[in-house]
């Protein structure tokens, strides 16, 4: 039980459990998650804090930036996993009902009752994960008009060995009520 194959499985399980990239989980849901790993986007994200969009309404901290763009959509950039309550307030203030939870390292968020996925417009949310191997930035672009009546559920988990934001989005857009986050240990061998 301790062969190369078993050890590789354990290491890969840990990688999967830590996955910082946003994942499209439900196959039947329309594709709307864009994963882009591009140096140019990293550059753009890196400059966004120092150079806020002109004419936009924005709220920043060193951990995140929430900016209302000229087209009415809201750009959320997450740099570090701090002050998620503040992040949630900012997103709500920008017009999207958000429920942001910081999941402890090595755990998953389970809720009872389970959140019910909402039917929603695939144009409501775009997500980019921008990584350059050193810093990791998660960007979301949200369209408040398309989120009516639904809640954006963001369970943000830190990667175990760094402070990089890892976003686990098992139920991204939900409707109705659901239970509180119960952090449970991630499965491991």
């Amino acid at each position: 039980m301790n062969t190369f194959e078993d050890k590789l499985l354990n290491e890969l399980r840990a990688v999967v459990a830590e996955r910082p990239a946003p994942i499209e989980v439900r196959r039947k849901r329309p594709k709307r998650v864009l994963i882009a790993v591009a140096a140019c986007l990293t550059l753009a994200a890196g400059t966004a804090v120092a150079v806020p969009l002109i004419g936009g309404e924005q709220a920043t901290s060193s951990a995140y930036a929430v900016t209302t763009q000229a087209d009415g959509r809201v750009k959320v950039q997450i740099y570090r996993l701090e002050d998620v309550e503040g992040l949630e307030k900012r997103i709500r203030a920008a017009g999207v009902a958000a429920d942001v939870t910081l999941v402890p390292v090595g755990k998953y968020c389970r809720r009872t009752p389970t959140p019910v996925r909402a039917k929603f417009d695939e144009k409501a949310m775009m997500m980019e994960f921008v990584g350059d191997g050193v810093t990791t930035v998660a960007n979301l672009v949200l369209d408040p008009k398309r989120f009516r009546g639904t809640t954006l559920l963001l369970d943000i988990a830190a990667a175990e060995k760094s402070k990089k934001p890892g976003l686990f989005l098992p139920e991204q857009v939900v409707s109705g009520s659901y239970g509180p986050c119960q952090p449970i240990p991630k499965p491991s061998k």
């Binding site: 190369f4 590789l8 290491e11 890969l12 399980r13 999967v16 990239a21 196959r27 994963i35």
Partner: protein
């Protein structure tokens, strides 16, 4: 329900996928590299790449096996182009680091068992890339034409044309191989 999308975030789904395919991936790699340490790295790389690519899997475009072979093929080709070395600098899982002496012995046995396959691949070296890839997947890896076409991202009819041409070109070379089996073993 393919379960492929889930391997990107669900460790249990990943484990099922891994257990189902790890032997296949290791054989695929052993048919192409002779170094057990490199084989271990490439096996890890293939599954990491599959995890990264899982969100892009579309059931209607083919089977998980065909999809995984496509990834494995790209990973091995990347190594051949020596680009993998740069990627490995940031690699999250190093296959070779996990190897014990026993593991190395087992991997070497597997690699030895695939020696004739590697010779066959080497014999196809003169073929144009597209034809070589087509023949390799069918004759060496044992894929169906449908699966092999999926791996290469082409239609089955186009694939059959390539395969037919490859066989035609290789005919004389194949006869040579068949006529000297002792060379293939030694």
């Amino acid at each position: 329900m393919s379960g492929v999308a889930e391997i990107g975030w669900d460790p249990d789904a990943f484990e099922r996928f891994y257990r189902e395919h790890v032997e296949r991936v290791q054989r695929f790699v052993a048919r192409r590299v002779e170094d057990p340490y490199l084989a271990a790295d490439l096996t890890a790389d293939v599954f990491l790449a599959a995890v990264d690519a899982s969100a892009g899997y579309r059931e209607q475009l083919g089977t998980p096996v065909g999809w995984l072979y496509g990834i494995a093929r790209n990973v091995v080709a990347g190594e051949r182009r020596r680009k993998a070395r740069e990627l490995r600098a940031n690699q999250r899982v190093s296959g070779r680091r996990l190897l014990t002496a026993d593991d190395v012995g087992r991997l070497e046995e597997r690699i030895d068992a695939e020696a004739s396959a590697r010779q066959l691949i080497a014999a196809m070296g003169e073929l144009p890339e597209g034809e070589r890839a087509a023949l390799e997947l069918v004759a060496v890896d044992g894929l169906s034409p449908q699966e092999a076409a999926q791996v290469l991202g082409i239609r089955v009819t186009a694939f059959r044309v390539r395969l037919h041409r490859a066989r035609g070109r290789l005919r004389s070379q194949s006869l040579q191989l068949v006529s000297t089996p002792e060379e293939a073993i030694s």
